[in-house]
């Protein structure tokens, strides 16, 4: 009658070295230091070394695209898991930043290296302003609004035939040299990745996470949650617009396709695959997804099928993602215990 009781179970325990490296004592030995530094060093050296290892212009361009998607994916992860706003509007940030940078460059004649930070701040402010009325919305509702914004802007540009209409804006300057173009995005990914990781552990990050977990409690502590949400969106929108501005200067063209759903969907897929809530995971996901989808380009639209099936599989069956799995294996070990 009774189901067979298992005689043993698996338990998961932190590695000793993980516990030792949590405090100041990590500085006492090389082994602990290496344990801490090694994963970060692999990422930094790996990203910086990628362009040297890759042959040919084509794959160098792919790396730039990977980095741009990685920036968007970091933004998605930051907004969804540390501020509690699920924004499906990656394309909104890309489009706004891209168009602003393109206009600054073609109409005012500013150099790309000035346009990009300009577009970042202006675009961030503009996106925050447009999203401000939606901030009280939660969950699915915010997600749907942000999904609709880029579609709406694209249709408006198409219908009114303003700022280039369906042809887009052509004749945008590229970055001064290929190496700057290549390393700018890579360095930006690293800077914002480690910057945001640091930010979420500061006092401000604590408040943001509290807004995500229990906004009523934050309100009861006499803090203005709309202000903090807007701040979170501003940080995210700035990074997203920066990615858009870089993209426009790499392609030397800005058009309606910068509002395409790709920029909303692929970063989310990368976050789901890489591991959500880790900030590193999205970068890893992009490093896997974008090259794979480039390799599948010969198969036409079948590539979108493959990639949506991967997304479906990870969402439904393996929702923790690669990075969370990896971190668990790195920090903990498992053993059987008899009961």
């Amino acid at each position: 009658m009774s189901p067979e009781t298992p005689s043993r179970r698996r338990e998961r325990i932190d590695r000793g070295i993980k516990v030792r490296t949590q405090g100041l004592y990590a500085l006492m030995s090389w082994r602990e230091l290496c344990y801490l530094i090694l994963p970060r060093l692999v990422l930094i050296v790996g990203l910086l070394g990628l362009p040297i290892m890759m042959p040919g212009m084509y794959w160098k361009r792919v790396i730039s695209i990977v980095c741009i998607y990685a920036l968007l994916a970091i933004v998605f992860d930051f907004l969804a898991h540390f501020v509690g706003l699920v924004s499906l509007g990656g394309a909104f940030f890309v489009g706004t930043g891209g168009y602003i940078s393109a206009l600054l460059n073609t109409k005012l004649g500013l150099a790309p290296l000035i346009c990009v930070p300009g577009a970042m701040l202006l675009g961030g402010a503009l996106c925050t302003l447009l999203l401000l009325p939606c901030l009280p919305l939660r969950g699915v509702y915010f997600a749907i609004v942000t999904l609709m914004y880029p579609l709406l802007l694209a249709r408006v540009i198409e219908a009114l035939n303003i700022i280039g209409g369906t042809d887009g804006i052509m004749g945008i300057d590229s970055f001064p040299s290929a190496w700057i173009e290549q390393y700018l995005v890579i360095v930006l990914v690293l800077v914002f990745l480690f910057g945001l990781r640091r930010l979420v552990n500061t006092d401000l990050g604590l408040v943001l996470r509290a807004v995500k977990d229990n906004d009523q409690a934050v309100k009861a502590s006499a803090m203005n949650i709309t202000y903090y949400k807007a701040l979170g969106v501003f940080i995210g929108a700035c990074i997203g617009c920066l990615a858009g501005a870089c993209l426009v200067h790499i392609y030397m063209w800005a058009g309606i396709s910068t509002f395409a759903l790709d920029f909303s969907v692929l970063p989310i897929a990368a976050t789901v695959i890489g591991g959500s809530g880790t900030l590193v995971g999205p970068v890893l996901g992009c490093l896997i997804l974008v090259p794979v989808s480039e390799l599948l380009r010969d198969f036409g639209t079948l590539r979108i099928v493959f990639y949506s099936l991967i997304l479906l599989g990870f969402t439904v069956f393996r929702s923790e993602g690669l990075m969370v799995y990896g971190q668990r294996k790195y920090h903990q070990f498992e053993r059987w215990k008899s009961i």
Binding site: V86, S308, S319
Partner: protein, 288 residues
């Protein structure tokens, strides 16, 4: 006069798009982003049944509706049931399904302008000096009949009452012995069948194209959000609101703005009154 006639037809079209989506969302709170894909899929099933298998047209229509309902239920049982309640995973998973269905249809080779379904009745008549196809009249009649049928179905049959109970309060429904998973599967099957019905009524008016899957989804979402969740009356009223607004903009501004109207309606409704014009249930939950 033509605004009135074409506005009505457009509104009924929108209501047909939205009813299936509203049913699934109302009962199991699942935003079924695969709705548009199911719409297009059923069109292609009917087309294949007629042209490849050589079946009679009415038979293949019924067949397409049944198959689509089964596919919808299977999607729910295999994938969506596992992410139930996690709103974002639901959206991502169902959107991934939609992409997979639509893009594999495109890959198989269903693209271009060559795929059309025959109309139920050919020819046209004129109402007040405006010529209208019989098929469009069939659409309006079928839409009205469908709304009436759903009204009776959700009030006088056991399954319909159970669905309404789920939509109003899932826990109370569970306590009264209504199995929420079974009901959610039923709702998903019915919703898919309604998508198929809409497709088979409306596709004879034009070509079957894969891209329309995305537009149908946006329009269905627009109608459901403006109308309010779980409110049938709201969905129908919103369909008329958006339908006439679209026709008016087409007449006075230009055809480009048709989609802008729907998108603006979504954004404005969510900003100003997220529970929709006629929904009262979730107002407190959605807003901080």
């Amino acid at each position: 006069m033509d605004i009135l006639i074409y506005g009505t037809i457009n509104s009924v079209t929108l209501a047909l798009y939205a009813l299936g989506f509203a049913l699934v969302y109302g009962v199991s709170r699942l935003p079924n982003f695969a709705h548009g894909a199911l719409y297009v899929l059923s069109g292609f099933i009917a087309w294949s049944a007629v042209n490849t298998l050589g079946l009679h047209y009415l038979l293949s229509v019924v067949l397409a509706m049944v198959i689509t309902a089964l596919i919808g239920s299977a999607i729910y049982l295999l994938f969506l049931i596992r992410v139930r309640g996690m709103a974002i995973s639901e959206i991502i998973a169902s959107y991934a399904i939609a992409l997979a269905i639509l893009e594999s249809l495109r890959w198989i080779g269903f693209k271009g302008m060559t795929y059309t379904l025959p109309a139920f009745i050919d020819g046209s008549t004129s109402i007040g000096g405006i010529s209208v196809d019989y098929q469009r009249l069939v659409v309006v009649g079928a839409g009205a009949a469908l709304v009436a049928f759903l009204w009776f179905f959700t009030r006088y049959t056991r399954i319909g009452l159970a669905l309404r109970g789920m939509a109003q309060d899932e826990r109370a429904a569970l306590m009264l012995g209504i199995d929420s998973d079974v009901m959610a599967v039923v709702a998903m099957g019915l919703g898919s069948m309604l998508a198929a019905l809409a497709a088979l009524l409306l596709l004879p008016l034009g070509n079957i194209v894969v891209e329309s899957g995305y537009n149908v989804l946006i329009l269905a979402i627009a109608v459901c959000i403006v109308g309010g969740i779980g409110s049938w009356v709201g969905a129908v009223m919103a369909a008329f609101l958006i339908g006439f607004a679209q026709i008016l903009t087409v007449v006075y501004l230009g055809a480009h703005y048709q989609m802008v109207v729907a998108l603006l309606a979504i954004i404005l409704t969510l900003i100003l009154k997220p529970s929709g014009l006629f929904g009262q249930q979730k107002e407190l939950e959605e807003r901080v």
